[in-house]
Symmetry: C2
Subunit: 457 residues, 2 copies
């Protein structure tokens, strides 16, 4: 006998939690499609040579390699590896299918990715990423950078996770600002930015001390300007524009960053995103050197400890390892597994009602054919229905439905048959009503629609 | 520069094909949920020790093993392996979570599985399986065996793949029949059944010759009875019952198989499955020794060469490797990747329309804010809309929408602005109409509803 168990670092859910998680993925997908993004799925494994274009490095150490039994016996380097994000597979996909795609190419991809993380609470070795990217050929206008926050707004509004803020910044603006302070070297900027990324964790004083300390040796007034700059958070649309204006003329890089961010802000307004849901935050840099322009992070106002729930930005060239074509892009990613886990930990998400909306009970085996007919009518009307196939005590059947999170129990016993009705009990309101078999589906649809209209899940 | 490519044996699709495939998966999932099955997802990898309960054998040779970089360097046996079906993970899941599940446990699972197949046309190393199973604790009534074909009927009807037949048989009936002919040994029965499974490929004469030949040495009259028996295909509900009755009294095993199959047939009728969609076929055995009672195969009437598109059956004990509890079950599986590939090969499925329903064109950059507002209204009404963010020649925009499979193009230029309308062109009908901005979403919804009502995809 073998003990049934999974490897640590995976999220496996019981059905009612899986239903809640599935609803989250459905909301994300629906909104991605609403904005006209097209679905792509790639294989879970890529050829190692294609996936690992750079040897060594942090990424490679966390990679899972894949070998068939035969290959394992032969020895040698594994030919395949599991994807560790959706960006490298996207780059490979776009380069491979370049001549069959229309640009700007707007794709969404919702799949699991794999990282050989150490087992640790809240760290996952297998997790969903939900990405959207817009890829241009040769060039991609800044207007696309405003569309992604509009999608984020739609997703998080429908997820119903409370107030949230999409934090916006621009790497050119950051770069120009540092150049203006005499920190022109790209690598030095990156090191300063890395320190600034620690603001939330280490606090302003500690970061300032590092900047003026032996590692950076910045003058006090330079450190002051940096600290003031990175603590900017706009409080309204007008304030965001004023903060940009306050940066002054500056150098060409700063001016370009300011102009881009201003256009993104104006278009966000035109997209109808409420100003309470976005802000300029000059401290956002995103760890990766990958990003070159707009950068995004999204935080839940009442749960700052969760950190960013949706991040991304603009990059210069998606697939330089695979093609000579220049493919600039802009994208965002939601780490759905981690998000779901965090929302549950924070008590924002609770176990869902069942995806089964109606249970058709059975009091007498002789009425099974009636039960099946009743269920058939419900299903034909688009209602999810389960049938009790064995007659049991009523109390047991109600207990089952209640525990399973099924809202309606439909009964058709001798009494109901005599009077030509079915009985419906709403386990949520504890109310019950009777209706003819023909009108049953319509009556339950009305109740379900009311629930949806009231935003109850 | 590295050549962008995938390993052979995976199905990677361009967006419009991915949309068609996604619709297939959505239809399957929707119908599984309609019948009250609950979602389960398991990790792509299981612990090797748990996954490979039997060492050696066909299955293990096709397994993909997984190792992180660190483990690979250390050597030793891989701790993880990719699932090769959804049945073993289900067994592990049910045994692991036994005390948190309600029985009968009704789950669906739609995920990819992995087999290290030789690269070959139409053979996949990564493919979707879409499974439903009902698992009982200690016992599971025969009535559940009739529900699965009702789900198959709902799925394949909505998939719109033409006429199909769910072929039913029962392993007890088969076993009893062979016992009646003096072929009582289980292994010998299995060998005869394996020959019978080759009927479609080798033809009746060749199979009969093998049965009377040196390997089996069956008497001519026994071979005749077997050949007559396995060629039985019922042509109606009444005919199916008559075929069962014609088997006579027989032994206890035969009688039990007949009684079970009769009950399944009667309940299928009560489920409202039309009799043209099911038939008794005494040759169906299913390769696996796994099945013990009802067995199913589903074939497309006009495309018999495709073989079974949905198979399954009743088994005695799901998880004997993991738990002492007896867990009988009944299940079916649709191999969606292979099905999609075959339907395309057979010309039954064509490229889908885009998931994008409306493209909002742009003739003048000054009207971008109007475009965004128009798109916002469409999306709020549940319509998928893409906005052209850069003004281009109209002909180019129409060409793009047409190639992308987008049905409606909405235009709002100077002329429309003056008259306070938007122009809508339906690229399918080539008709166009004008409507106010406020009424646009409602007007397009009417058109889309008509399309759905007419069953056009």
């Amino acid at each position: 006998m073998i003990k049934p168990r999974t490897t640590p670092g995976v999220m496996e859910l019981l059905p009612r939690d899986q239903i809640a998680f599935q609803r989250m993925l459905d909301v994300i997908r629906r909104n991605y499609e609403r904005f006209g993004f097209l679905p792509v799925e790639t294989p879970v494994f890529e050829l190692s040579e294609v996936l690992l274009t750079k040897t060594g490095g942090e990424t490679e150490r966390q990679v899972y390699f894949v070998q068939s039994t035969g290959a394992l016996e032969q020895g040698g380097q594994p030919e395949l590896a599991l994807r560790f994000d959706l960006t490298v597979p996207l780059a490979r996909y776009v380069a491979e299918h370049e001549h069959d795609l229309a640009f700007p190419f707007r794709r969404y991809q919702i799949q699991r990715v794999y990282r050989g993380e150490r087992a640790q609470r809240g760290r996952f070795r297998e997790f969903y990423q939900c990405d959207i990217d817009v890829i241009g050929k040769d060039a991609l206008g800044i207007r696309h950078d405003a569309e992604l926050p509009a999608v984020i707004h739609a997703v998080f509004t429908e997820l119903g996770v409370g107030p949230f803020t999409i934090q916006l910044n621009n790497r050119k603006l950051l770069r120009g600002f540092f150049e203006g302070l005499g920190i022109a070297d790209g690598e030095r900027q990156a090191l300063v930015l890395r320190e600034i990324d620690k603001l939330d964790k280490r606090g302003a004083d500690a970061v300032r001390a590092t900047l003026t300390g032996p590692d950076f040796q910045l003058a006090d007034n330079v450190a002051d300007q940096i600290m003031a700059f990175v603590q900017v958070r706009s409080t309204s649309h007008a304030d965001a524009l004023a903060r940009l204006a306050a940066l002054g003329e500056g150098n060409a890089t700063l001016a370009q960053g300011v102009a881009e961010l201003r256009e993104v802000l104006e278009l966000l307004k035109a997209h109808g995103v409420p100003e309470k849901n976005y802000a300029v935050n000059f401290s956002i840099a995103r760890g990766l050197d990958y990003y070159t322009g707009t950068v995004y992070e999204t935080t839940l106002d009442e749960h700052p400890q969760i950190g960013s729930v949706c991040s991304g930005g603009r990059y210069e060239d998606l697939a330089s390892h695979y093609t000579k074509s220049k493919l600039p892009g802009v994208g965002i990613s939601i780490g759905a597994t981690r998000l779901f886990w965090q929302l549950r930990e924070a008590g924002i998400l609770s176990t869902a009602e069942s995806s089964v909306e109606v249970m058709v009970g059975l009091m007498d085996d002789a009425r099974l054919a009636d039960s099946l007919d009743i269920a058939r009518r419900l299903r034909a009307a688009g209602i999810n229905a389960e049938v009790q196939l064995e007659a049991k005590k009523l109390a047991k059947q109600f207990q089952y439905a209640d525990r399973a999170g099924i809202r309606f129990v439909v009964l058709y016993g001798e009494d109901e048959a005599t009077r030509g009705v079915v009985k419906v009990k709403d386990l949520r309101s504890q109310e019950q009503f009777e209706v003819s078999r023909e009108e049953l589906a319509a009556a339950i649809k009305v109740e379900l629609e009311q629930q949806r209209a009231m935003g109850v899940r």
